[in-house]
């Protein structure tokens, strides 16, 4: 027993020493990041059922692997957000403090303010220089921001390259550690320390990429990307990335290389591009910054720069340009390129009802639905009924039972549907009878109600299930806008820098002379329209009928006839005949006794259509109250009115000599003349030139005595002849702060004459309204209908049109400017004296605002895949402020997320450390325990030794 006890005590001493070693190591590494507490498990040595001492097992560690995986993921998330936040913080620093007002929005506000000051004193050279200086400061800030975006993108690209290099080093380290762990496990050696090292490497890897992992039975930890691409086991997988030099127009994957797992894709076709996957970690953040966030910010500043330059230019001041003094080409419109161009695989039958006898009639089996899905709008269904096609069709009816008829039905539905535009979805036919569908949106064709295979027979699908789907290609195939990177070229027009007075005069040559040095007309346009919500104002007349070029209908009617608006002539006598009382017995009356014979006054009127006069003779002697020729022929103002109206009514058929043209009132055009009174004064209201005559060559037979007209208040000079010219319909129109110009609609005017009167053409005549553009436009009632001959006149500020609509905004491009118009109605009144302005311009308030070219929200960036994140903004200042707000919001959200995720990571880390880390106090306690065990074991050895000594002494 004695020897056995000694062995047992010695095993206790040995194990205690081993425990001391482990504890010492734990205490020594207590402050080492990533070190996990090591444990030396002990077990009892049993021989023949009897304890034979203590045994130590392999040193192990205690790690919660699930918690550790969570910690890895959280490390990736924190690294992702930290990297992103750092970059966004640089942008915030660029904008400066809010009260510094050095950001581009504040500087744009100062440009506006400088123009506001200049508006007060347009010729002040100091203010002009201040305006240029503020413009230069703004342009410089825009340029710097554009540069910053490129700098940050290139930094991101550089950091990706560095990160990938480090990732490869870490992967090699992990693979090496995996190999060692596998070997030591096989050799039954402790791998706890190696696992700590591997965990450390994986933790660092997690900062670059988000990873997943699993542990194999041989102890190898297989590391993968978050989407399962293997990065390392015993062997590392190379992560490949080739750095590019980035410019505004470079983008992944066209001109930026991807990040490949598996090495160089040129050498390894199995290399997998993880760029578009959820990479996570700092590299994921850098990719997002490079390909999404920073291009979005660049798109914002490009959009702002381009629109600011354009909006200034459209008001006649090209203040901002590129270095060459020119502007981007706004005609490049990404939406002009359809994303889907589908041509049916087979020709549509020449007669679908013959080819597919089950079609026709009014049943549901004729229905095809085109379901078009638009972002932000949803799915719009265009339902066409093939039964509407005609067999045979009537002459001229487009609904033929063939490809053209089907295309007509679809396009008709597009016209009728407010949700979808023909610009985005069009159907046409080609020369071989195939249907072509050009769409900017994904769509499906649902022909399930049709007879079996009918959709295929109609050429609208390749298979025969009566349905077909069309998805958008990944990159749409659209064309990028022309102003990508314009912000970096953005500067004050060199021409303006060289001649600062252009700020006040504008950069276009006016047709009607230069802008005077004290005029604020350019500046106020800039203030009101460049910085305002709308580009200009316009007015459109009511509709008129004009011969249609398609149909060549009847000759165009005169404008006055179409308007029902004629020259107006209201003659009001200057004498209060009510006060006069009896026209014959008044002391001032020159009239003779009615019984002595006729006393005629002649009202000679001239019809502008026939241009011939006709005479209405009024015999004042009829005012004898005998009821003949008209009831109420009293010798006073009432009787006079009745008598004149009776004479007018009977003018037909009583032609004087020489006979005038036959008179019939009102005339076919609606012109008329009548008498009335106003406050006792005689009033003659008509649409004609009017002459009152009692003497001279045009005098009537038996003229009334001299001064009769004067007595009646119709002749102010007593010459017994007085003429009153009718006023043609007119209105006044002015552009900006110009004085109003009167525009008259003459008797013989057609639409084109009015347009000519509105347009100033100094080269050929001096008529016209300065700074006004007028044109005849076809009403958008039914543009597909060639029988629609309704047109309007549209007027807007400007000077000359190029006759070309390059920018696709629906108007011919104007080499002039915008601004406001004012229309002041003429003295148009109906018979009751109410104004009838609407007869001229459609309503009493016909001027409408025309919006600027809208800020583009989507289809931005070189790959046409960026949206600016700023929608619904109309003014340039608001856009600039929203851009900064958007960038700040991105920073705020990122920073907030970072704080949350960091807190969570700290919680996980603390939990992990508490579970797997070292507590020195605990280790010290264990140390005391081990010390005690060691002392006890040593005491046992000593006791046994004493026993042996006693025994030996006894024997000896």
């Amino acid at each position: 027993m004695g020897l056995a006890g000694l062995d047992q005590a010695l095993s206790g001493v040995r194990v205690a020493q081993q425990q001391l070693s482990v504890l010492s190591n734990n205490i020594a590494n207590a402050q080492v990041e990533g070190f996990t507490r090591k444990i030396l498990p002990q077990s009892t040595l049993t021989l023949n059922g009897q304890g034979a001492g203590v045994l130590s097992d392999t040193i192990i560690r205690k790690v919660d692997t699930n918690l550790q995986l969570d910690l890895f993921r959280q490390t990736s998330i924190e690294a992702f957000l930290t990297t992103k936040a750092d970059s966004l913080d640089r942008i915030q620093q660029f904008h400066g403090p809010p009260d510094g007002e050095a950001n581009f929005a504040a500087l744009l506000g100062k440009v506006r303010d400088s123009f506001t000051a200049l508006d007060n004193d347009p010729g002040d050279p100091l203010l002009i220089n201040e305006a240029i200086n503020s413009a230069e400061r703004f342009a410089g800030r825009v340029r710097e921001f554009g540069d910053l975006m490129q700098e940050l993108r290139n930094d991101a690209e550089n950091d990706i390259a560095s990160g990938v290099n480090r990732v490869n080093q870490i992967l090699e380290q992990i693979a090496d550690l995996n190999g060692q762990i596998s070997f030591n496990i096989a050799a039954d050696n402790s791998v706890a320390q190696l696992e700590d090292q591997r965990d450390q490497a994986i933790t660092e890897l997690s900062e670059f990429l988000e990873i997943t992992s699993f542990r194999r039975g041989d102890g190898v930890l297989v590391v993968q990307t978050s989407e399962g691409q293997q990065l390392a086991d015993e062997n590392p997988t190379e992560v490949f990335f080739r750095q590019s030099n980035l410019g505004p127009s470079t983008f992944y994957p066209d001109s930026i290389n991807g990040i490949f797992v598996g090495g160089n894709p040129a050498q390894n076709s199995g290399a997998f591009d993880i760029t578009q996957t959820d990479i996570g970690g700092s590299i994921g953040a850098l990719v997002e910054l490079r390909d999404d966030v920073l291009p979005r910010f660049q798109a914002q500043i490009d959009e702002l720069a381009a629109n600011v330059a354009d909006r200034f230019d459209r008001q006649g001041l090209r203040l901002f340009t590129n270095e060459a003094g020119s502007l981007p080409d706004f005609s490049t419109n990404p939406d002009n390129t359809p994303d889907i161009n589908y041509t049916s695989p087979a020709a549509v039958p020449a007669n679908i009802f013959t080819a597919i006898p089950a079609l026709g009639g009014s049943g549901a089996s004729n229905i095809i639905n085109f379901n078009v899905t638009q972002p932000g709008i949803g799915t719009t269904t265009l339902q066409i009924d093939l039964g509407a096609l005609q067999d045979p069709p009537a002459p001229g009816d487009p609904r033929t039972p063939d490809a053209q008829g089907i295309a007509f039905l679809i396009n008709e539905q597009i016209q009728l549907n407010d949700n979808i535009s023909a610009e985005n979805f069009q159907v046409s036919t080609n020369g071989t009878g195939q249907l072509t569908i050009n769409s900017d949106f994904a769509f499906t064709i649902d022909g399930t109600a049709l007879p079996a295979t009918a959709l295929n027979q109609l050429g609208l699908e390749a298979d025969t299930n009566n349905t077909e789907s069309f998805a958008l290609p990944f990159f749409g195939g659209d064309t990028a806008v022309d102003y990508i990177g314009f912000a970096q070229e953005f500067q004050v027009n060199p021409a303006v820098v060289n001649d600062p007075n252009l700020i006040q005069r504008g950069t276009i040559t006016r047709e009607d002379g230069p802008v005077q040095p004290g005029s604020n007309e350019v500046i106020r346009r800039i203030l009101q329209f460049t910085f305002g919500d709308t580009e200009f104002q316009q007015a459109t007349t009511r509709s008129f009928t004009q011969p249609n070029p398609f149909t060549g209908t009847a000759p165009e009617a005169l404008l006055q006839d179409q308007l029902g608006l004629f020259a107006s002539n209201r003659i009001e006598g200057t004498v209060d005949l009510e006060t006069v009382g009896n026209l014959f017995s008044s002391p001032d009356s020159p009239l003779n006794d009615p019984a002595l014979g006729p006393q005629n006054i002649r009202i000679r009127v001239t019809d502008p259509t026939t241009n011939a006069p006709f005479d209405i003779d009024v015999n004042l002697s009829e005012l004898d109250n005998d009821g003949v020729p008209v009831a109420g022929d009293t010798p006073d103002i009432n009787g006079l009115v009745n008598l004149i109206n009776n004479a007018i009514d009977n003018a037909t058929g009583t032609p004087p000599t020489p006979p005038p043209p036959s008179v019939s009132l009102p005339t076919p055009e609606g012109r008329d003349i009548f008498a009335t009174q106003s406050g006792g004064n005689l009033v003659i209201q008509s649409n004609f030139d009017v002459e009152f005559v009692t003497a001279g060559p045009n005098a009537p037979a038996n003229p009334a005595p001299a001064t009769t007209l004067q007595f009646l208040g119709l002749d102010d000079d007593g010459d017994n002849i007085s003429s009153f010219e009718a006023t043609q319909p007119f209105f006044e129109v002015a552009v900006g702060d110009n004085d109003p110009t009167r525009v008259t609609i003459d008797d013989d005017d057609l639409l084109a004459d009015l347009v000519d009167k509105l347009n100033l053409d100094p080269g050929s005549d001096t008529q016209g309204v300065p700074d006004l553009l007028a044109e005849i436009v076809r009403d958008p009632v039914d543009p597909l209908n060639p029988n629609d001959d309704q047109v309007s006149i549209r007027i807007r500020p400007g000077q000359v049109t190029t006759g070309v609509d390059q920018n696709g905004d629906g108007f011919d491009d104007v080499a002039g400017f915008g601004g406001e118009i004012r229309i002041i109605g003429g003295p148009f009144q109906d018979t009751t004296g109410n104004p009838i302005l609407e007869s001229v311009f459609g309503s009493e308030d016909p001027v409408t605002n025309v919006e600027h070219r809208a800020f583009r929200f989507q289809d931005l960036g070189p790959e046409v895949g960026i949206n600016s994140g700023i929608d619904g903004v109309e003014t340039i200042l608001s856009y600039a402020q929203n851009a900064i707000n958007n960038q700040s919001s991105e920073s705020i959200v990122t920073q907030s997320s970072l704080e949350d995720e960091s807190t969570f990571k700290q919680t996980l880390l603390r939990q992990f450390q508490d579970e797997s880390g070292v507590n020195i106090d605990e280790e010290l306690s264990n140390l005391i325990l081990v010390q005690t065990a060691f002392s006890a074991s040593a005491r046992a050895v000593s006791a046994i030794d004493e026993l042996f000594e006693e025994l030996l002494n006894a024997i000896a």
């Binding site: 400088s114 347009p122 010729g123 040095p517 020489p658 960038q887």
Partner: protein
């Protein structure tokens, strides 16, 4: 049981202390700057509010500046108008005084007008720094230049008036008209000395708000100034005795309005001028007589009558009978076609007198001509004599008639004429005064508007400043309290850290 890691404990404590120090730094920074954040992100959801408020605040500062400068300009304009008004009033007062006294001291009127004219010209050319106040948008061009052409133009008109070429009414018409299309003798803007571009000049305004431009335009060529200049120029050139203060009546026209000439036919033309021994060819043969009359403004003018139309058929006019009445109607018909009476009211009127004789009354010197060098189809020889319109009754068929003086020139006539002129000028100046007063009232309205807007701006600025302060500035008291709290927390954390570090088993065991 989950343990407590020493490293974790100290790291956690370190993070807590770090957080507290960050808070302390932020709060102390806020306290020292008074601002909530040093970047936009620090404003949280108020980024856009801050930007808009700051932009609006800056804009209001500019509006305030505009209002201040505009007020100065308006005051300058108003003062100038006051002075112009004063000069006009002095001139009118001088005239009224002289007229009231009955004995006109022309020298005094001339002096007052001369002085006033010079001052008014200077005032109309007044500047605000480099800009002319009354030039509209053409601010760099002097609106009124003293080229002497106004003096010459008025002098010429007065000469014509004194030489009885022009009546007083014609003179006044010319003086009051600026467009030669309305009166060939008009005193044009160019003669007055207005800059050619002034007519094209647009308005001036004060940009007092984003939607309000206050019009401050008063242009030197407005009618009230134009008439005042002309009136004063007339007054300073009134004819004066060579060595005295009285009126130079020798150079004052008499009443030329009384000089119409009336020609009465010496023949009783009977019922048919073509009948009997008449030399006149019967209708429809053209038998033309030309009337040539001297219009003092437009020069020689003419119209022609054709006796061949007097056939009683109503064409070209009713009453075309071959008798004295028909001839009278015919003369009136063609005179009217020729535009008579003219703009000054001068006319040629034919009638039949109580004796049935043809009578022609003319405000012009005129000649009746039926010679071969006269009308295209002259009436047969002897026609004028037959009609009783040829004084000498013989060859050639031409007769001249001059306007005659109605009465002898008297001092009263002359006084009346010059009084008429002076009074007309006084009325024109009075009318100008009304116009100037209107302009001044408009400017005062503008001034009141600008002043009101200035007060509104001050109120808005306060509101916006408050908004900016609310969004961007800290509450000093609250921040100070927070800072103190964080200080306490940090101090406590340090103490805890110290305590925890000393609460080590090692220390305990070593004790």
């Amino acid at each position: 049981m989950v343990g407590v890691s020493t490293l974790g404990t100290f790291q956690a404590q370190g993070i807590r202390i770090n957080n507290l120090q960050t808070q302390l730094d932020r709060l102390s920074n806020q306290l020292s700057t008074g601002k909530l954040a040093t970047d936009f992100a620090g404003l949280g959801n108020d980024v856009i509010r801050s930007q808009r408020a700051r932009a609006d605040l800056q804009e209001l500062s500019i509006f305030q500046r505009n209002v201040d400068l505009g007020t100065l300009r308006l005051n300058l304009q108003t003062n100038a108008l006051d002075n112009i008004e004063r000069q006009a009033e002095i001139a009118v007062d001088a005239i009224n005084l002289e007229v009231k006294q009955g004995q006109i001291d022309l020298a005094r009127i001339r002096d007052v007008a001369d002085t006033g004219l010079g001052i008014v010209k200077d005032l109309l050319n007044e500047r605000d720094a480099e800009n002319f106040l009354f030039a509209g948008s053409d601010v760099l061009t002097q609106p009124l230049n003293d080229t002497g052409t106004l003096e010459t133009a008025v002098q010429n008109l007065l000469n014509d008036w004194q030489n009885e070429v022009l009546t007083t009414n014609e003179l006044l018409s010319a003086l009051r008209t600026r467009d030669p299309a309305d009166n060939p003798l008009a005193v044009t803007d160019s003669q007055i000395g207005y800059a050619p571009s002034l007519n094209e000049a647009k308005g001036q305004s004060i940009r007092a708000d984003s939607n309000i431009e206050v019009d401050t335009t008063v242009k030197a060529d407005e009618v009230q100034f134009r008439n005042l200049l002309v009136s004063l120029e007339v007054l300073r050139q009134l004819p004066q005795e060579a060595n005295g203060t009285g009126i130079d009546f020798a150079n004052v026209p008499d009443a030329i309005e009384d000089t119409a000439v009336t020609v009465t036919s010496t023949q009783d033309l009977g019922a048919d001028i073509f009948a009997g021994a008449s030399p006149i060819a019967a209708p429809p043969t053209a038998q033309e007589i030309q009337f040539i009359y001297e219009d003092p403004v437009a020069g020689p003018q003419a119209f022609t009558i054709d006796l061949g139309v007097l056939d009683g058929d109503g064409v070209p006019f009713a009453g075309d009978n071959p008798d004295a009445t028909g001839i009278a109607n015919l003369i009136n018909f063609e005179a009217a076609n020729a535009g008579l009476p003219n703009a000054d009211g001068r006319d040629i009127v034919a009638s039949v007198n109580a004796d049935g004789r043809l009578e022609i009354t003319s405000d012009f010197d005129f000649t009746i001509d039926s010679t071969s060098t006269g009308p295209t189809n002259p009436a047969n020889a002897g026609t004028l004599a037959f009609l009783g319109l040829d004084q000498d009754g013989g060859f050639p068929d031409i007769a001249a008639f001059e306007t005659t003086t109605g009465d002898e020139t008297t001092t009263n006539d002359e006084q009346n004429e010059i009084f008429s002129l002076i009074e007309a000028m006084a009325r024109d100046i009075q009318s100008s005064l009304k116009g100037i007063s209107r302009s001044r009232l408009n400017l005062q309205d503008a001034l009141a508007t600008v002043d009101r807007i200035g007060q509104d701006i001050a109120g808005e600025r306060t509101t916006l400043q408050n908004l900016v302060s609310t969004v961007e500035d800290i509450d000093i008291n609250q921040t100070a309290v927070e800072l103190q709290q964080v200080q306490f927390q940090l101090q406590a954390s340090f103490q805890i850290t110290d305590s925890v570090s000393r609460l080590s088993l090692t220390n305990f065991l070593s004790l």
